[in-house]
Symmetry: C3
Subunit: 140 residues, 3 copies
Amino acid sequence: MWQQREVTLPASRRGFHLITDYIERALDELAPVSVGLLHLQLLHTSASLTINENADPSVRRDMEQHFSVMVPENQPYYEHIYEGSDDMPAHIKASMLGSSLTIPIKNGLLYLGTWQGVYLGEHRDHAGARRLLMTLHGES
Amino acid sequence: MWQQREVTLPASRRGFHLITDYIERALDELAPVSVGLLHLQLLHTSASLTINENADPSVRRDMEQHFSVMVPENQPYYEHIYEGSDDMPAHIKASMLGSSLTIPIKNGLLYLGTWQGVYLGEHRDHAGARRLLMTLHGES
Amino acid sequence: MWQQREVTLPASRRGFHLITDYIERALDELAPVSVGLLHLQLLHTSASLTINENADPSVRRDMEQHFSVMVPENQPYYEHIYEGSDDMPAHIKASMLGSSLTIPIKNGLLYLGTWQGVYLGEHRDHAGARRLLMTLHGES
């Protein structure tokens, strides 16, 4: 059984944001699978998806700080600068972290560790809403 | 329905290369699926696959520049140096970016964002052709 | 056909470890598929999975060295410091490398390149055993 649906993540400020609840609510609107995989594809090149700690917000803040140190703005060798100083670093971070995730499903629910949550990495300073494609397959 | 086929990417110079057209042509040779997922596995440890901006070539050049700053050659702590100064950085970049991708399929086509394309990251200075395994599954 | 099973990776010291044999043995305990995909999800936020060179152990040592240079401990901007100086870098490395992999299967075996192996990245100094969820689907 295959199900595919595009959803919209509301605009977020630059940084990492826990979107597990949002994904779970969108999953609830699909027919449940007992065992399967949920594939998430962000349809953008300056934001990312990753799995990390779902408890302390300081983890998300430290990730934002450190990714912005590893991938600084205004490097002298950047040629792609006409979309703003945050744009090229956003592309690089999107590839370092990835724009898709595949998450195991059991009994209709995400099967993740106790401390795992789904993050949206928003790498632009003034981004709009983000399109996310969900593809669910499994056995009912 | 499952289909699996190995294809060959011609040798590329070091850097990031848009291979969306190549993937689409290889996909056209498989039986089409209406909804599904295409898994791509590069069978090498010094090249990578990633999704990023499909328009301006300067994005690919800036990515090459910045990954080579984050992962420099000739670090004093590298022990694995007998395959050339570009080899160990190539292994590290391959793991930072990843050697596989899973791409959603709809009506026989890649379902990606308007500005998204598939990149090969070639991290060696003088690489040969690269083997790529395609695994397609979905419903027809 | 879907199969899902949780297995336990024994505690490892900090660094990168080849776990291909372990994955192959666990795969042998599932019903074989002729063509399919094996999804691996680490149920933790301070360790990672990646595919890299399966031969020379110096590659794993150089990766550990270089990731610890790219993501140093005790950065002045880290707020999340109460779980030890290795904790926040471990979270960042887990997202850079990823906590899941999807590996192609052919005739019941992992379909990887000659030089490819599966690595566990253990990013904590004193971690315990790690839970790994295997989800296998394919045709028999």
